[in-house]
């Protein structure tokens, strides 16, 4: 009897080992993380220290993001969108070009802002120092912060005055770069490609609906909206348009997007007065 138990437990142990090793081939271990415990963050004149962020992380973040920062916390099965895997170092909300690490400030801002339409709340209760320490702790999960530098933040020219011409020009940009393919001609997230969108992990993901009054994912100032389409939201289908929209045109597009949003705005008022019609997806390229 005893030997049989032994055999069984051996079998189970071997199976568990197999499952564990199969499930996460490139998984970082606690030991790997220990080597980066000295990670710092710099936000203005605040310096964050990873080791000081550990306790807050274990108290507030570990449930979703997991002890090893791999996004595999105990809430993982129940939340959608899934928690970020900090080991990959891929983040939606950045001021830096697609394919680069965000700045410390980007992460610092995201913690306070939260991520609308996800389970990530606004962590406004932390002090700035606590947030900076958390940023350092988050960074220590990925070897990328040791091997790479964050990208250079994109340049955003000062916001020009809204004019009817600019809103019209923004509509032409919306047509030319074909935002409507996913977001729909009225910004209702019902473009021809909307239904099949997937994130980088192959999970279904919705395009942003401009008409519902929801906060844009990475902030709701005009500069935030500018940044979203010029950097792209890495890990999602939203690409960077930096190579195809000039900085001045980008402001035109921001104004047009504002006009699609239901909140009261100068842009919305002007578009109404103009009697601006939605773009025609069947019009030949360049002829709206």
């Amino acid at each position: 009897m005893r030997t049989r138990m032994h055999e069984w437990s051996l079998c189970l142990g071997a199976l568990a080992l197999l499952v564990l090793t199969q499930a996460s081939p490139a998984q970082l271990t606690k030991y790997d993380l220990e080597t980066r415990i000295g990670m710092e963050s710099h936000i203005g004149n605040i310096t964050g220290h990873a080791k000081d962020g550990k306790d807050d992380y274990r108290r507030y973040c570990v449930g979703c993001h997991g002890e090893l920062g791999d996004g595999n916390g105990e809430n993982f099965p129940w939340v959608d969108p899934k928690p970020r895997d900090f080991q990959l170092g891929i983040f939606k909300c950045r001021s830096t070009p697609t394919g680069t690490l965000p700045t410390d400030e980007d992460l610092f801002d995201t913690i306070a802002r939260g991520l609308d339409r996800s389970n990530m709340p606004q962590w406004s209760t932390f002090t700035k120092q606590e947030r900076a320490d958390l940023v350092a702790w988050i960074k220590h999960f990925s070897p990328r912060w040791t091997n790479e530098k964050p990208g250079t933040p994109i340049q955003i020219p000062p916001e020009p005055e809204v004019t009817a011409e600019r809103i019209k020009a923004g509509r032409d940009v919306f047509a030319r770069v074909q935002c409507w393919k996913c977001h729909g001609v009225l910004g209702q997230a019902n473009g021809p490609s909307a239904a099949t969108l997937q994130d980088d992990l192959g999970r279904p993901i919705a395009a942003y609906n401009f008409t519902e009054g929801a906060r844009p994912k990475c902030g709701d100032t005009d500069r935030d909206i500018y940044r979203i389409f010029m950097t792209g939201l890495d890990g999602t289908p939203m690409p960077s348009f930096a190579d195809n929209i000039k900085p001045d045109e980008a402001w035109d597009l921001v104004f047009y997007l504002r006009a699609l949003m239901p909140q009261k705005s100068k842009e919305r008022e002007m578009a109404k007065q103009l009697g601006l019609r939605p773009v025609d997806p069947n019009a030949p390229v360049g002829q709206q």
Partner: protein, 247 residues
């Protein structure tokens, strides 16, 4: 007179020897480097490749009006030749042959809502261009594993977009997708050292291989990898044929 002849002959001889030395000198290099050639075939009947429904984008439908689009998981030519197989040297390379990066800048084009070529082989750090020939917007979205050192990125390419110029840092078989057209699916096969991709008949030649003993690996996106040991003699051609079974 005879002296002048002698002189001319001597001069001609010297020039001739010099030229020969130069040419041979070049040849010595070229002769030193051998190649690996062969044919990759698929065993048995070519699997049926499903047609692609492009109806969500009228431009794509029109582009394929006379040439229905199919999946390109297995592209089988005459006599079972398998296209889009990447061949590279997985063991045995040293020195310059391993680290030298080709200066050629291959192009990965978005044409008629598919990737051309379907599989783009690249050396580590080799520059390549992503272009679009289409009058519909694409987004080019490779999805490597950032733990390898290759970082994913995602860029829009509306009609008339300028080329995107990039390179990859580490060997990896990277899937490339377009989120706007979910059927679009291609590969960047990033390897270290000389490589080749099979043509429509399944033939390939890996050039610039210094003499030595090597392991050649053949990679096919669905069937996986196979390896063979070869010996390349100075200026010689080693042969390595592969046969895959469809999975």
């Amino acid at each position: 007179m005879r002296n002048r002849y002698k002189f001319a002959t001597a001069l001609a001889a010297v020039v001739g020897v010099c030229c020969a030395a130069l040419i041979l000198g070049h040849k010595v290099n070229a002769a030193g480097e051998g190649k690996i050639t062969g044919t990759v075939k698929l065993d048995g009947a070519a699997p049926h490749m499903k047609g692609i429904d492009m109806s969500k984008d009228p431009y794509c439908v029109k582009a394929h009006a006379n040439d229905p689009a199919h999946l390109e998981t297995y592209v089988v030519g005459a006599n079972g030749g398998l296209e889009n197989v990447v061949l590279y040297i997985s063991e045995g390379l040293t020195g310059g042959a391993l680290t030298e990066v080709p200066t050629a800048e291959p192009v990965f084009d978005q044409k008629n809502c598919v990737y051309t070529p379907h599989v783009l082989a690249l050396d580590v750090n080799q520059k390549f261009k992503v272009t679009t020939s289409d009058q519909t917007a694409h987004n080019i979205h490779p999805n490597p594993n950032p733990m390898t050192g290759n970082i994913p990125w995602n860029q829009s390419q509306p009609p008339g977009a300028p080329p995107v110029e990039k390179s990859w840092k580490a060997p990896e078989f990277i899937e490339v997708k377009c989120n706007i057209h979910p059927w679009m699916h291609g590969w960047h096969a990033v390897v270290k050292g000389p490589y080749a991709t099979t043509d429509a008949s399944g033939n390939y030649t890996i050039n610039n291989v210094p003499p030595g003993n090597y392991t050649v690996t053949a990679w096919q996106e669905a069937a996986g990898t196979q390896t063979q040991k070869v010996t390349v003699a100075a200026g010689g051609a080693a042969k390595a044929d592969f046969t895959f079974k469809a999975k």
